[in-house]
Amino acid sequence: MSTLPAHVLDEIRELPAKYPQQRSAVMPALDLAQEELGYLTPEAMSEVAVALQLDPGYVEGVATFYTLFHLEPIGKHRFYLCTNLSCTLRGANEIVKHVRGAIGVHEAGEVSKDGLFSYEEVECLGACEYAPVARLDRRYQVDLTNQKVDALIAERRNPVVQPPHPAAPLAQPTSPRSGEVKPPKKRTKKSG
């Protein structure tokens, strides 16, 4: 009995044909496994290795190198909170503290009691003009404030309010930040 369902393993076995060399399929394959299970178990990595005819140690070596592969359970909704310089200058550390309190965890990686949330501090997300920024459910959440964080959490706690596809703030990107005037934020507490 394998950890990964047969249809996922079938999909994984079809991946190598898409690339000039089959080894390139390892990350897309780990993606499929992670999507299925939420995170990568040792068994899942072994099964990926067998499906791609690679050494299990090799597959684990790839999985441990990249930050978007998770080797431990994560919340259903994971906040990837940027705390690099541009976001820190705009109060990212306050946001981290607020998220921690709002989802009721003590540290990064810890899953909230209801299993819905976890957070992680990450390096630059490449949306510095919108600092502070987080990635959540495959979309960027921008110009974060404590209120915005609360709203994002509430939407996900209450499925009635939750849209079928999380709102995409950048989905109509023809409005460059360039023209916008952003009011300077009140900064009551300095973070850096």
Binding site: P20, Y66, T67, L68, L89, C124, G192
Partner: protein, 435 residues
């Protein structure tokens, strides 16, 4: 001071960005999109394309500033097997967001540019390596590529010719080092992303062992415009030697953070004060990173510095990836440097000892200083570690960049380092407490 310009001679990259739904093929095409690729495939030779780009003076916008046409000309013409264009869309330099901005606004512009570049090296496949966190740009590129296939612009008979052309996507999974081209190639091949030793250079042995040119998103996005208007028209913009326009991302302590297209040669004062609205009310700009966190910092007194890429090199810093991080007098330079060193130490791939060890040494030293346990010894360690990280001791530039942060912040703000290390005082915090 290098030549300065105060006005932009007409946008290149963002020319059509005010148009709604530019990411859709019919809209992009209605403005003139894909005319360049059609013309290239039907009327030009690979050598002519390279010549036109050479005339434009276009240089790589990922940070290395290498002449694009020259890079393409390094790919051997007589190689029998496949040749690849690999698009570096792994933008992860702190402070840089312009590639994301370009892809979100005009995915077809990148696809067209990548296809023209493939033609220039007589290749048939371009691979866009996009960072895993960029979900929306990935989806937009995926849909745009599908549209281009459906129209017959990509495929076995691109634009009805006998020239097969394809653009494919590969998602990264979170590693700053993948911005380095050989690490990116390792990752594309399904390996841990650790830089390769060179030679062989990618032009000879790149992706999957084949001749490859790795180009940045912005660089390739510029190419369709050059092919439409001619290299000479592009070269009218910019300075004597650094031609054209470029994207900058302004972030941090400014009123209007954003992505702006500038003519190369305008001053940082123009970018930061005119375009980005200047400092926040009541604040003074203390320091700025002129081209991503890896560029050596300049103090606020040097706002009149030109964005001329050669001039920046001549004063020991760089225009880099165009990420301008601005910090005002309410923030402490030592804490900012400590945060950046944490980044470089975390992102070190671990292959070269100076970078792997030096970064962590620096982090621990900064931690002692900020915990009030600093002394003259800590300042000496930082200087030595900074030196050890630099000067080409590693396979790639990550370690050097970490060293530059330490060196340049210590040079310009030695007083803040001394206050912290020797007296356990943060003058910035003290000033704010009295404000």
């Amino acid at each position: 001071m290098a030549e300065q310009r105060g006005t932009v001679g007409g946008p290149v990259l963002t020319e059509w960005f005010a148009t709604r739904d530019l990411h859709k093929l019919d809209v992009y095409e209605s403005l003139g999109g894909y005319t360049a690729l059609r013309k290239v495939l039907k009327e030009m030779t690979a050598a002519q394309v390279i010549d036109e780009v050479k005339i434009s003076g276009l240089r790589g916008r990922g940070g290395a500033d290498f002449p694009t046409a020259t890079k393409w000309s390094f790919v051997p013409k007589d190689h029998p097997g496949p040749k690849y264009i690999v698009v570096n869309a792994d933008e992860s330099e702190p402070g840089s967001a312009k590639d994301r901005y370009l892809m979100e606004n005009s995915p077809h512009m990148l696809i067209e540019g990548a296809a023209i570049a493939s033609f220039a090296i007589s290749g048939h496949q371009a691979w866009i390596y996009i960072r895993g966190e960029y979900d929306l740009p990935y989806e937009m590129l995926r849909d745009a590529i599908a549209e281009a296939h459906a129209k017959g612009y990509l495929g076995e008979h691109s634009f009805g010719t006998d020239y097969p052309m394809d653009v494919r996507l590969y998602r990264g999974h979170g590693a700053y080092i993948c911005g380095e081209e050989t690490a990116l190639l390792e990752s594309l091949e399904g390996k841990r992303a650790q830089p390769r030793s060179r030679p062989p250079f990618p032009a000879v042995k790149g992706a999957w062992g084949m001749p490859t040119a790795v180009n940045n998103v912005e660089t390739l996005s510029t190419v369709p415009w050059i092919m439409r208007h001619g290299g000479a028209e592009y070269a009218k913009r910019g300075t004597e030697r650094a031609k054209g326009t470029r994207m900058v991302t302004v972030s941090g302590d400014v009123q209007k953070p954003g992505n702006y297209e500038i003519e190369i040669g305008v001053t940082y004062r123009h970018v930061i004060e005119e375009l980005a609205g200047g400092a926040l009310p009541g604040r003074k700009i203390k320091v700025f990173w002129p081209g991503g966190s890896s560029a050596k910092v300049l103090p606020g007194s040097m706002l009149d510095t030109s964005t001329d890429l050669d001039y920046l090199k001549s004063i020991g810093t760089m225009g880099g990836s165009g990420g301008i991080i601005v910090m005002d007098d309410s923030h402490c330079v030592v804490k900012a440097a400590a945060r950046l060193l944490r980044f470089y130490a975390f992102e070190s791939c671990g292959k070269c000892t100076p970078c792997r060890v030096g970064g962590n040494w620096a982090v621990r030293t900064y931690e002692r200083i900020l915990a009030g346990e600093g002394s003259q010894i800590e300042l000496g360690i930082l200087e030595r570690v900074s030196d050890g990280l630099q000067n080409g001791r590693c396979l790639c530039g990550l370690g050097d960049a970490a060293g530059w942060v330490i060196e340049s912040t210590m040079r310009h703000f030695h007083n803040e380092y001394e206050e912290h290390s020797l007296h356990n005082v943060c003058s910035v915090e003290a000033a704010l407490a009295h404000a």
